[in-house]
Symmetry: C2
Amino acid sequence: MYKISLITGDGIGPELSESAVSVLNTIHDKLDLKFDITKLSAGDKALSETGKALPDETVQTIKQSDVCLKAPVGESAADVIVVLRRMLDLYANIRPAKSYPHMPALRDDIDMVIVRENTEDLYTGKEFSLGDSSVALRIISEAASKRIAKYAFETAKQRDSMRKVTCVHKSNVMRVTDGMFAKACTDVSKDYPDISFEQMYVDACAMNLIRQPEQFDVVVTTNLFGDILSDESSQVVGGLGMAPAANIGDKFALFEPVHGAAFDIAGQNIANPSSFLLSIKMMFDWLGKKHNDSKCIEVGQKLESTIFDLVKSGVKTKDIGGDKSTSEFTKQITDNL
Amino acid sequence: MYKISLITGDGIGPELSESAVSVLNTIHDKLDLKFDITKLSAGDKALSETGKALPDETVQTIKQSDVCLKAPVGESAADVIVVLRRMLDLYANIRPAKSYPHMPALRDDIDMVIVRENTEDLYTGKEFSLGDSSVALRIISEAASKRIAKYAFETAKQRDSMRKVTCVHKSNVMRVTDGMFAKACTDVSKDYPDISFEQMYVDACAMNLIRQPEQFDVVVTTNLFGDILSDESSQVVGGLGMAPAANIGDKFALFEPVHGAAFDIAGQNIANPSSFLLSIKMMFDWLGKKHNDSKCIEVGQKLESTIFDLVKSGVKTKDIGGDKSTSEFTKQITDNL
Ligand SMILES: CC(C)[C@H](C(=O)O)[C@@H](O)C(=O)O
Ligand SMILES: CC(C)[C@H](C(=O)O)[C@@H](O)C(=O)O
């Protein structure tokens, strides 16, 4: 019995959470995998109701759970997710980008994953106003750089792919901080002689993600570059409709879609729940590995293939060219699980 | 008589400079626009020969010229171009991205320009190593932000387009520094009631440049985001083969291609000189406006249309699907000017 904490979020968050709960309940009943879901509030609504975007009870409940799911949060997103990533030391943000049949990717042979450092860089909130000027500290440590580099190489090792790690930085301009990051990655690469290693400047990477996205396997980069490049790579494979993310630490993990709260389409029952559901697939993988529970892994695979079989057969939401509502698409999934 | 200083660069730089000089000489003779070109050294070769990537004589000669052209420079590029941008206060880096006929753009109706702040952000070289950690200062000032915002709105005003400025930042995470940048742009926008103004987070922009690039007109952003987004947008319109850049200050300007020294194809006479030649087109525009010289403007237009007529008729270099060498393509241009 796994304890799942679920932040229901803002905008389209509540609809996606409903879809997620319905899929999880079906898995619980039909596939005999037991868990218990606790819904939690955080984000804009929590902020206006309690004065805190991330209420203390939410944090406490997350800490007592086995894993956390997070639907998108609105304008106060940084006060929720950036804080949780650092507080729970979820140092690896994993964002796969893969071309799937019947999705409008730039090419059909893309299969990469961005491994984004998730705890430092310009995300530590160390910023100061000095009258007419202001300064933010970009902090890079050797320990965090080595830790994420190791995670990237371990990821490459386990993937059934070309086994390459591309370290993305801007050390020609940020010689000290990105020099440190590049050196940490280079040092770690020596422990993985079977995995090829290359370095690329972030501007060249932004270009190459369009020019030859099929040449990437595992990309490891600092926090802010990872933020930018992962949104770009989701679009390269056809959009945020199918873009999941995992925030992983040594003890705990949090799963969320890459997309935001999309207030413009909230409450219309048209949002694509696939990014969130594919994040749940990543959750099952993580739970399965952590607890040596092959059932979890199987369930995750089943969930993923159910989603893609539907998309392939033309059962799709509006954003990717279909006509199914959020709840109709969800029902098709639960029926087919 | 305009004095042009020309940094011949590294890698493919010297070949491109030869192409540029040949085109400029033809313009001098055939189109009766007078100038005098001084070739200068800077970059990797200068560094290994003189110990300085940017020799003092080079700086002196540039300062005595009316305008500077810069071919790409190698690994020491930052020591040349970042220093020159700051030293000469070339605060606006202008990078147009336009779909042209017979170029492999993602769509055929893209016509945007990135206005990149060119003097601050993480480019001031203020970086420190603190043992196992390191820190870089991201500096944003109100004055530089307002100045670039004004430049962006003036650009939008003069363009024959949808008249929209999109301010790109990450103020949800960098509340102080990008908060200052966003506020400066918002303040300046009030002086331009006829131009619409929107804001976008940098990750969303990286995505939207692929998803709906035709919706952008003028994008204004900070230095490093501008670096990343302009490389991406060049690729969106078909690659770095046709991507010019202008570095503009109140008194002086420097023009260069967006692409780098491309050592892998150097010396083979296959590089596409178009990015550099289109930068020269931007130079003629700038000279023409500054000196109220309509001849310059005409010559620039003639140069641009000559390049695009050739590309349209299938006369192209290898990178964009043709078979012409650098010198053959250049000869076609000089013949047709
Ligand atoms: C909401 C925001 C703080 C967040 C980030 O920048 O990390 C988001 O864009 C993401 O990528 O998860
Ligand atoms: C060479 C490098 C320092 C430079 C930059 O980052 O500005 C280049 O990428 C550019 O965009 O002109």
